[in-house]
C-alpha cells in the first residue's frame, strides 16, 4: 500500500550511485554462471563452442558486450567509490564522487562501443 507517507523521492546522486552499484552486481552475478558454462564447452563440447563463438560476431551479441562492459565499469567504479566513502574521511565531495564514478563508467562503455562498431 503506497500512501503519501510511504512514498519517498530517491532522486539524488547518492541513491542513484547506490542502486546502480547493486543492480550491476546482480547483473554480473547472473552473467557469470553463463560465462563459465560457455567456457566449460571448450572441454566438454568444442564443436558446440565454435558454433557459439560464431554467434558472438552478430551485432546483437556485440551490443550485449557493451552492456556487459558497462556493468563491469559501473560495478568497479561503484566499489571504488564505496571504499573511498567508507575508508577515507572525505565529506561533502561524495556526491561529486558518485557522479564522477557514473560518468567514468559511461565513458569507458562508450569507448568500448566506438571500438566495437
Amino acid at each position: 500500500m503506497k500512501t503519501a507517507r510511504n512514498i519517498i523521492s530517491r532522486a539524488h546522486p547518492l541513491w542513484n550511485a547506490y542502486i546502480l552499484h547493486r543492480l550491476s552486481g546482480l547483473g554480473l552475478a547472473l552473467f557469470l554462471p553463463v560465462h563459465f558454462w560457455v567456457l566449460a564447452m571448450a572441454v566438454t563440447a568444442p564443436a558446440q563452442l565454435d558454433g557459439f563463438l560464431h554467434l558472438t560476431e552478430t551485432p546483437v551479441v556485440k551490443l550485449a558486450e557493451v552492456g556487459l562492459v558497462f556493468l563491469l565499469a559501473v560495478h568497479m567504479f561503484g566499489g571504488l567509490r564505496l571504499m573511498a566513502l567508507e575508508w577515507l574521511p572525505w565529506s561533502p565531495s561524495q556526491k561529486t564522487m558518485a557522479a564522477l564514478a557514473t560518468a567514468l563508467s559511461f565513458f569507458v562503455a562508450a569507448l568500448f562501443f566506438l571500438k566495437a562498431i
Binding site: 500512501t3 503519501a4 550511485a17 566513502l85 574521511p89
Partner: protein, 237 residues
C-alpha cells in the same frame, strides 16, 4: 494579498486523504498552510510544531514524497502546479493525522549511547576545549542536529529493518566519540557496532541529501564503521 487557491491534500489515516483549498500568499511555508487548515477549515486536524523558525525540530512531515522541516519549507518551492501532498513522517508510528510517535526515534539515541558520559561534577572547573583539533572539528560538524527525524524518515534501511538505530542516533554517537569531554568511547563503539548498528548502513545517502541543517550523517556513520573496524583490529592484536 491572496491570489490563487492551493490544493492541499493531507493524509489523515492509512487510506484516508482530505483535500483543502487554501489561499495562497507570498513567502508562505508548508507549516503556514497546515496551520491555516487547522484554524479555518478543520479544527480537528492534528499536527505538531513549536518554534516556527527551524530550531526545535518538531514540525517535520512528508511533503510531496520528501521529509522536510515544514516551518522553513516554502510552498512555492515544493508545489506542483498548485498542489501539495502532506503526510506524517515515514518510518514512525502515526498517532493521529500528521503527528507521529517519536519514542522509537529517541529510544534509539539512548541505545546508540547518544548520551553524555562525563567525568566532572558541578564543583569542578569547566573543561577547556581546543576548537582547532581535528576531533573537535569532526564533533562540531554534527552538533547542529535538531532531532527532527527527517533523516530517520528518509532512510530506506530503517524501513527495511525496524531495529536499525538510524542516521540521527549514529551521528550523535559519532559526535560524542569525537568529543574530548566524553569518557565512554568503548561503550559507544560497542553500542554502535552491534547487529542493529552502523554496519547496517548501505550508504544510500538520503539522510545527507535531505537533512534540513545540511549535516552529513552518512559520513558520520562511515566514521563509526572505520573506528569500530580499527578497535576490532586493536583488540585482536
Amino acid at each position: 494579498m491572496a491570489a490563487d487557491l492551493l490544493d492541499i491534500k493531507i493524509q489523515r489515516g492509512p487510506d484516508k486523504y482530505e483535500t483543502f483549498q487554501v489561499p495562497s500568499h507570498a513567502s508562505q511555508t508548508v507549516l503556514d498552510v497546515v496551520s491555516w487548515v487547522q484554524q479555518n477549515a478543520d479544527p480537528t486536524l492534528s499536527y505538531r510544531f513549536a518554534c516556527r523558525v527551524g530550531m526545535c525540530g518538531s514540525c517535520a512531515m512528508m511533503v510531496n514524497g520528501v521529509p522536510r522541516w515544514t516551518c522553513r519549507t516554502h510552498i512555492s518551492k515544493v508545489s506542483k502546479g498548485n498542489a501539495v501532498t502532506i503526510g506524517p513522517l515515514r518510518n514512525l508510528p502515526v498517532i493521529k493525522d500528521l503527528v507521529v510517535d517519536m519514542d522509537p526515534f529517541f529510544d534509539k539515541w539512548i541505545a546508540a549511547e547518544g548520551v553524555h558520559h562525563g567525568s566532572r561534577t558541578r564543583d569542578d572547573p569547566i573543561a577547556p576545549v581546543d576548537t582547532s583539533t581535528p576531533a573537535r572539528v569532526t564533533a562540531n560538524a554534527g552538533i547542529e542536529c535538531i532531532n527532527c527525524a527527517v533523516c530517520f524518515a528518509a532512510c530506506d534501511t530503517v524501513t527495511g529493518s525496524a531495529d536499525y538505530l538510524g542516521p540521527a542516533a549514529l551521528q550523535r554517537a559519532w559526535t560524542l566519540l569525537n568529543d574530548t569531554k566524553d569518557t565512554a568511547a568503548a561503550t559507544i563503539l560497542d553500542a554502535v557496532s552491534d547487529r542493529n548498528g552502523c554496519h547496517n548502513c548501505h550508504a544510500m545517502g538520503s539522510c545527507t541529501a535531505y537533512c534540513p541543517n545540511e549535516l552529513d550523517p552518512m559520513s558520520a556513520i562511515a566514521g563509526l564503521k572505520r573506528e569500530t573496524a580499527k578497535s576490532l583490529l586493536r583488540r585482536r592484536r
